[in-house]
């Protein structure tokens, strides 16, 4: 059933998306600002379920691309958010009928709300990952053969580039260097899909899910319950670790915010320290002796008491945090998906460790 997405729901969605964004997706409040502005100027957005999208729909994803460390200082305008959707529509020669989120993640769950409001289009209650990942080809539609192209990039200056590439990895490569040159943060739109393809390839109901998580965190806080308990229940995950951030190393390189954070537990804890490795998103959580969880499953950092999600660029020395893990969409555990988003892709020589401590089988290798 379609529902009305108004300003009151934006903050819940942004908060829930900041959690499922596993550290990436940028500051949720910045994205919420823009969405609220768009809703105030253009009225509320109709959110439709995947089942309601007609087969002949023209669906595009909309997202911010770049380093979250830059996004926090470079807020896009509504013009910048509309430009790439329009450019792809013109390229296709067909009117775009629906907007969808490429990922859930602070800014990237609210930018599409702004785009839908400003363009007067319905927003699909779904996304391409069920979490956030750092590279643009890392969406479930890629596994379904959907091409990222034509994909448009737009910056705040008015520059637009439309890519038509031989595969989605090339879209990422060319878009990434253009993004860096255009100021390390751009709005992209692409992955044109008809309704039937969107139904098969996207993660259903993820905007609602984000909204529910966001409101559950607030409700628990108001009712003096532990927000982390409410989160763990909704994401069907577990609490991995709790402690104080004692070190954060972070650099913005090649268009990404890359780094690591170290969290030390108080006395009596099972493990004394946890290390998180991230590239926009948290990719690996490990103790000094053992890998606990890796991408594609979700590694989430929240404030110890308030349960407020903390993005990778907001991690600071001295923060008291809790680290949670949860399962990703099961399709991310297929071998071809793990080749795209598993720890080895990101340079970590280890199998995919699931949220519950089990590991995914490794692809068979030929003995040399």
């Amino acid at each position: 059933m379609s529902w009305i997405l108004d300003a009151g729901r934006v903050e819940d969605i942004a908060r829930g998306a900041a959690l499922l964004g596993t550290g990436g997706g940028g500051d949720p409040y910045i994205g919420a600002l823009l969405a609220r502005q768009a809703l105030a100027e253009h009225g509320p957005v109709t959110a439709v379920t995947l089942e309601e999208v007609p087969d002949d729909a023209v669906v595009l994803t909309v997202a911010m691309m770049g380093a979250p460390t830059v996004m926090v200082e470079k807020l896009p305008s509504l013009k910048e958010v509309m430009a790439p959707v329009r450019a792809v529509g013109e390229y296709l020669g067909r009117p775009v009928t629906h907007v969808a989120c490429a990922e859930v993640g602070g800014v990237n769950s609210t930018i599409p709300i702004a785009a839908a409001a400003a363009l007067g289009l319905p927003l699909i209650d779904a996304d391409g990952m069920g979490r956030a990942f750092p590279e643009l080809q890392m969406v479930l539609p890629t596994l379904y053969g959907v091409t990222a192209s034509p994909l448009a990039l737009a910056d705040e200056k008015g520059n637009v580039s439309v890519l038509n590439t031989v595969d989605n990895t090339w879209t990422e490569r060319i878009a990434r260097v253009a993004c860096v040159e255009m100021g390390c943060s751009v709005i992209i739109s692409g992955f044109p899909m008809d309704g039937a393809t969107a139904r098969a390839a996207l993660v259903p109901d993820s905007l609602s899910h984000c909204g529910n998580i966001g409101s559950a965190i607030l409700a628990a806080r108001e009712e003096k319950r532990d927000p982390v308990g409410a989160i763990v229940e909704l994401v069907r995950g577990r609490e991995l670790f709790g402690g104080k951030v004692v070190d954060v190393q972070r650099g913005t390189t090649a268009g990404f915010a890359r780094g690591r954070a170290r969290i030390e537990a108080g006395s009596g804890a099972e493990a004394s320290a946890l290390e998180l490795n991230f590239q926009n998103e948290h990719l690996v959580a490990r103790t000094d002796t053992k890998v606990l969880v890796t991408a594609p499953d979700l590694i989430m950092v929240v404030d110890h008491d308030s349960g407020e999600p903390i993005t990778t660029e907001a991690l600071r020395y001295g923060q008291r945090v809790r680290v949670l893990a949860a399962p990703s969409d099961p399709r991310w555990h297929q071998p071809e998906a793990l080749a795209m988003v598993g720890p080895r892709y990101f340079g970590y020589e280890m199998p995919s460790h699931r949220w519950d401590g089990s590991t995914d089988p490794e692809p068979a290798t030929v003995a040399s």
Copy 2:
């Protein structure tokens, strides 16, 4: 009057263009190979003068972009040459009617021949510079307010990117990083102009001029006359220096072939050594004590005896060469043109030195 451009004329044009390309534009023989292949497969090209182009024509320039050091190892295909012209035509929603050269320079005078042949379009006997320059905004049409956008890039893999930017410098910036990522050598097409604008903005008859220079070099060689004398007469320039290449420093950085070459004269010469600084093209010619000539005027290196033009990537220790200078199109000496292609733009803190030893007036500066 229009004329038929067939395979017999390609080599003359390539040789003359290698000279006027002032070291840039890539290996003329590579471009000639592709043009000859296109003419063999699709028949001869009609070259039309600027006067013959109708006012409502849709003119696009076509060029190879990248480092000549890479071009020599990565020959484009006819498919790659046609792709960006088609992409811009589709973007404009109007059929392209004429192809023109962006610059004269080895490959970039023959790639448009290949494009015109393969696309079945007339080629305008004109170009955008009357020489070669390293960055794409450096064409006379920029001075006439022609936008480079929409400009398309295509690589040999099949990737295409269409840029629509706020100014021509942004086209250069985004295209350059995309070019580097796509393999440091791509085919570009852009600068859409109607016939009236092309007539005002382009350098007329430059393909014919290149062909005439090329055939004059060959004729002088066959008749045992000095080819350099024939060149100097046709380019209305002078011989600056003669000697042996004793040092070449060259690197491919940020998508350009940058470097310097040192040439030492035999005993009795007026100056003992000449240094050339280049970024794809020769930009500065100076002795140890004096600047002789800078961009935008032409600095050309040819083989000492045969008069064969030597591109910057072909400069080698031990070559006996002669260095020539000639005037550029006079429009390059306007103040706004010098800001775009004068020595200061390229990082050389000196006024523009003309081919004849005079200097251009410097823009007035406010005393601090």
